[in-house]
């Protein structure tokens, strides 16, 4: 972390960048907030630890409109979002100085707290153990029990875009880390259920939705200036949880609108106050895209055409869905 601060100070001092976008210490040790630092002395509150889950890519849409270059710290998976935004002309690559930071996983604070670890000051990951520095001394817990869902199926340690790397090696192995599981496991499990049970599963999950729109607002792919759900002519109750239909509609359409552009950064499920596994909707689209149109990772590059703005003459017919039956 000290290395990051030192480098940021250097870049601020020599005028390469006008501001730094990073994470600021919170009150608790587990609640760092995304923040801008404009002066060297502000950086005393800078923090980077496994609780810094926030993907800063989306903030760069706003930062791109500011005077001067912004220095940003991006974790490997955050760089995919940045690339995707570059491709959509939403961020300005030339006005961004990216330092790729190493990442060994980000944490779900709730899980650490509910494991009875209190008075958290700092945390570090060592192998498959999470070491937490607390007011009451050092505490440990198995890493897998504390990780955010997205990190359990980590898509790799490689930064797809950066100006320099700190705490990470260039050319570090692509592909998921050694702990990573199959990200489609739960999707496959759902697909194997009878439709009735699947419906019940989604009904139970989606009826929890409180329409806070956090999933949408945090999503780097949801970068519309005015969301279709915010139109006041449109008959959609974007803030009322009226009954299950509106919630279903919102989540299907939201997932659909980011299909082919979603990098699977997992921010939507990280922020959901009701713990709805929203990644399962996005991953279904990713899985289908991979099956029908070939493997595709959004944000891996800035040139390729997204699956939904592309086609081939030989594409499968929509009828495939009922032919193959049972949700696969």
């Amino acid at each position: 972390m000290q290395e990051l601060i030192t480098r940021a100070k250097e870049l601020l001092a020599d005028g390469t960048v006008s501001r730094v976008l990073g994470w600021k210490k919170g009150d608790m040790g587990w609640d760092p907030e995304p923040a801008y630092f404009e002066k060297e002395e502000d950086l005393k509150d800078f923090v980077y630890n496994p609780f810094c889950g926030a993907n800063l890519s989306k903030y760069l849409i706003a930062a791109g409109k500011l005077e001067g270059t912004t220095l940003v710290f991006l974790k490997p998976c955050d760089t995919y979002s940045f690339n995707q935004l570059t491709k959509e002309h939403r961020v300005k690559r030339e006005k961004t100085y990216i330092i790729g930071v190493g990442c060994h996983g980000t944490l779900k604070a709730e899980k650490v707290l509910s494991a009875g670890i209190k008075g958290i000051e700092d945390a570090a990951i060592e192998g498959d153990t999470l070491k937490v520095k607390t007011l009451y001394g050092e505490k440990e817990m198995p890493l897998m029990d504390a990780l955010l869902e997205r990190c359990k199926v980590c898509k790799g340690k490689i930064h797809v875009v950066f100006d320099e790397l700190i705490g990470a090696e260039e050319g570090e192995e692509a592909g998921p880390g050694e702990l990573a599981g199959n990200r489609f496991a739960k999707v496959e499990e759902l697909e194997a259920m009878p439709p009735k049970e699947r419906f019940a599963f989604w009904q139970e999950q989606l009826s929890k939705c409180i329409r806070c729109n956090a999933c949408r607002n945090v999503c780097p792919a949801c970068s519309c200036l005015k969301c279709v759900f915010d139109g006041n002519q449109f008959d959609s109750s974007q803030k009322a949880n009226v009954d299950t239909f509106e919630e279903q509609m919102f989540h299907i359409i939201r997932a659909y609108h980011v299909a082919g552009r979603c990098t699977d950064c997992g921010e939507c499920s990280r922020v959901c106050p009701e713990g709805i596994p929203l990644q399962l909707l996005n991953r279904k689209f990713i899985k289908d895209i991979n099956t029908f149109y070939g493997e595709y990772q959004a944000g891996a590059d800035t040139e390729s055409r997204a699956p939904l703005t592309d086609f081939t003459f030989e594409d499968v017919e929509p009828g495939i869905v009922s032919e193959r039956g049972g949700g696969r």
Partner: protein, 146 residues
Amino acid sequence: MQVENTEFRPKIVAFCCNWCSYAGADLAGSSRLAYPADVKIIRVPCSCRVNPMFILRAFQRGADGVILCGCHPGDCHYTTGNYYTRRRMTLLFSMLDYLGVENGRTRVEWVSAAEGVKFSTTMNEFVAKIHELGENVRLEDLRCKN
């Protein structure tokens, strides 16, 4: 004496593209080919105009089945519109299936202006399928139900 009609009359929305399928429906009509009156046609400039939201809205408003008809791939009036439709609908239908909506409530069929017969058989088949599936309850909005 009024006889109460309790028989299930499905509500079916058919989005037809202006250039092929709508003309196909016309041909079915002028050739006196029958298809059930339960099918309500909405004419769209191109099958590609159909936003996935249209389909969900139709279900919300009480449709029991939604069918989308367009030109055969390669024949699109706008050259490539229906290729995009094909991808979009494949993904949408797969998602609906994943959410537990019965398979078969949605369908895409390519119907050219010369295929009056195909239009009529497709609609007959589709209506039969919806009869088999019954009323749409999983995507309904209670506020729209009588």
